[in-house]
């Protein structure tokens, strides 16, 4: 299922970086450095805490946290949005991000690059299976599915990328 997910994500123009539990911080740091190493807007999640991602990057990068009093003002300056993922759909190559106080919606839309950390345990076979399961549980105020970089076909039906949302999406798949 992970192979299927990786193939689908890559077909959707995501950059996939696979690693084991011990390499999460270093893999994330590499992705952040490649995406400009500017201000990193951080969105928290249980997986991010378990992997110690914030502690691992805070020394090396300028990090914008959701409880920053100037968060709304500073988010547009961020070079990268760094988030976890709550669910993924293998067949479609899709990541679902639930809104929460520590995980605002805009982190994965306003910065020009999105880096997403996904635990393999969260992968479902496909979108329909995932939605059926999610519909039985309490829902977040916003659940956003992302399959890749922002795109448009409005210029003579030829695809171009990065129109409003992120131009690049890096997925760190932790197995």
């Amino acid at each position: 299922m992970i192979e299927r997910l990786v193939d689908a994500l890559e077909a959707n123009r995501c950059t996939v970086r696979r690693c084991d539990q011990a390499q999460v911080v270093s893999t994330v740091a590499t992705a952040l450095a490649e995406r400009g190493a500017g201000l990193v807007a951080f969105a928290d999640s249980a997986d991010m805490q378990r992997h110690g991602v914030l502690d691992g990057i805070v020394e090396r990068f300028d990090v914008l946290l959701p409880h920053d009093t100037r968060w709304r003002e500073r988010l547009p300056e961020a070079a990268v949005g760094l988030t976890g993922a709550d669910v993924a759909a293998a067949a479609e190559g899709a990541l679902a991000l639930a809104a929460a106080p520590g995980s605002p919606r805009a982190v994965s839309v306003v910065p020009p690059a999105h880096v997403c950390v996904l635990d393999a345990a969260r992968v479902e076979a496909d979108f329909a299976t995932a939605v059926t399961r999610l519909a039985r549980e309490p829902l977040p105020s916003a659940l956003t599915w992302v399959t890749g970089p922002s795109r448009t076909g409005d210029l003579e039906m030829q695809l171009t990328y990065g129109i409003h949302g992120p131009l690049t999406v890096d997925v760190v798949v932790v197995t």
């Binding site: 689908a8 959707n12 959701p66 968060w71 709304r72 547009p76 759909a89 067949a91 479609e92 190559g93 899709a94 809104a99 929460a100 106080p101 605002p104 919606r105 805009a106 994965s108 839309v109 306003v110 979108f127 329909a128 299976t129 995932a130 939605v131 059926t132 999610l134 519909a135 829902l139 977040p140 105020s141 916003a142 659940l143 956003t144 599915w145 992302v146 399959t147 890749g148 970089p149 922002s150 795109r151 448009t152 076909g153 409005d154 210029l155 003579e156 039906m157 030829q158 171009t160 990328y161 990065g162 129109i163 409003h164 949302g165 992120p166």
Partner: protein
């Protein structure tokens, strides 16, 4: 700015506008880009036949008892913290939205960002808000192009499909304030990103449509590709979602099949770049998302279709597949229809929404080839509905209840009616069929090709104005068949 003064396809009737469209070489060149979508629906259908059946069932589940499902959805939305408004007409929908905006921004005009929504086009919301002094940004790239051009979208998925890249660059140069607009696609895309981003970030109110609304959880589902829809739902403090009443589905779980079906038929994607599922406004300590989420149910004569043959039309999921395969749409483009909804689905829906007051000539602008019916992911018999509508639009008691506002359509004369009856009677028997076709074949062959390309007789002239009447073969297929069978014995 959203007044549609930019006339791309002039003409008072569909026939006149179609003729101008065919003569417009730029438009014809732009329309060739639609070839990329010609096989999309067929390929999507071949990959997931069971999903089409499932979706057709799910979309019809809420329709027979629409009012009860709307009440259920209403309760679930309210339980999730949203505010529900109900509008019977486009004008009441506009008034509701104006009041919400005025309450949100009592001291100054609002900065409003919109994501692409056919429902807001239908109620002409953008123009009304601009007239009230608000700053309205259509933030989908295609919608922005047509907004700047002062046109309406010509395709529900690709609003600026009628424009070539050169024309798009020309349109955007008018708002570039001296800044050169790049002529290549990638450059133009980054230019648009930088140009629109400050307005997305400054927005007070976000206005979106709704692709599906789940009655069990009160969840609104929005399907997008560009990311502007995500700004509209994440950044402004107030969000208004405009929802035609038929968007209600029984269960959120149903969306698991409906969304991939919609996206695969619309653009060939297994899933769009973004699918947003909103259940109420922001909660507790959340720092973004709307503080207030308003949902406006728009009826506009839809509920009166329940129980009529046109109830089927309410199953439509707005994928655009029927436009992409329609020989008429592919030749004339959307502006020839001069309506919000274009192509086959627009020809059926438009006269129904306005009870015949607009678009009553559209159902007649069809070859009835049935390509639309075949492409439809939820099995709406579009060609049958067109035939039904033709007869209803000629009837004084149409099966959609309520009077026809503009009365009898132009050629519903007694003579016309008698001719159809006579034809129906003649072709109801084999003898009648053979006698009439035999005579017609001999007469037309005698007159020859020059006559068939421009017939001088009143009844045939209208038909040959746009196309040639083929000269029939010397012997009919039936004669050939009989001769072959005779020969092989």
């Amino acid at each position: 700015m959203t007044e549609h003064h930019g006339i791309v396809t002039p003409g008072r009737t569909f026939r006149a506008r179609a003729a101008s469209a065919v003569r417009d070489p730029q438009l014809q060149r732009a329309l060739r880009n639609l070839d990329r979508r010609y096989r999309t629906a067929g390929e999507a259908a071949a990959r997931q036949p069971e999903r089409r059946e499932q979706a057709a069932r799910v979309r019809r589940e809420t329709l027979p008892d629409l009012d009860a499902w709307l009440d259920r959805l209403d309760a679930a939305l309210v339980a999730a913290g949203a505010v529900v408004h109900r509008a019977d007409t486009p004008s009441s929908a506009r008034a509701i939205v104006q009041a919400i905006v005025a309450e949100a921004m009592p001291d100054r005009p609002a900065r409003i960002v919109k994501s692409k929504s056919m429902a807001t086009e239908e109620i002409e919301l953008g123009a009304a808000l601009e007239e009230a002094g608000h700053d309205v940004l259509e933030s989908d790239l295609g919608e922005y192009i047509v907004q700047v051009a002062g046109e309406r979208p010509s395709h529900m998925i690709t609003p600026a499909i009628h424009k070539t890249l050169d024309q798009i660059q020309g349109v955007l140069s008018t708002v570039a304030a001296g800044d050169a607009v790049p002529s290549d696609r990638d450059g133009l895309t980054s230019w648009a990103r930088e140009h629109l981003r400050p307005r997305l970030l400054a927005a007070d109110v976000g206005i979106t449509g709704v692709n599906f609304a789940a009655a069990d959880t009160g969840t609104l589902v929005l399907v997008t590709n560009e990311g502007n829809g995500r700004y509209c739902t994440a950044w402004p403090r107030v969000q208004i979602a405009v929802m035609p009443v038929e968007k209600v589905v029984a269960r959120l779980a149903d969306v698991g099949d409906l969304v991939p079906l919609l996206t695969s038929h619309a653009t060939g994607q297994r899933l769009t770049t973004y699918v947003t599922m909103m259940t109420g406004p922001r909660r507790g300590d959340e720092i973004d998302g709307p503080e207030a989420l308003h949902v406006v149910f728009v009826d506009h004569n839809r509920r009166r279709l329940v129980g009529t043959p046109y109830e089927e039309m309410l199953a439509c999921i707005r994928c655009g597949a029927c436009l992409n395969v329609c020989p008429v749409y592919r030749t004339t483009s959307g502006h020839a229809y001069d309506t919000t909804y274009t192509g086959p689905m627009g020809k059926v829906l438009t006269p129904l929404l306005d009870l015949g007051a607009t678009g009553s000539d559209l159902p007649f602008a069809s070859t009835l080839c049935g390509a639309c019916t075949e492409a439809c992911p939820v099995g709406i018999p579009l060609a049958d509905l067109l035939v039904h509508l033709r007869s209803d639009l000629r009837s004084s008691a149409p099966s959609f209840t309520g009077p026809l506002v503009d009365g009898e359509p132009p050629d519903a004369t007694g003579l016309n009616r008698a001719a159809w009856r006579l034809w129906a009677r003649a072709w109801s028997s084999e003898r009648g069929y053979r006698a009439t076709t035999g005579t017609a074949r001999r007469v037309v062959r005698m007159l020859g090709r020059r006559w068939t390309s421009r017939a001088p007789f009143p009844l045939v002239r209208g038909w040959t104005r746009g196309r040639d009447l083929p000269v029939p073969a010397r012997r009919s297929c039936r004669d050939e068949w009989a001769a072959k069978r005779g020969g092989s014995r």
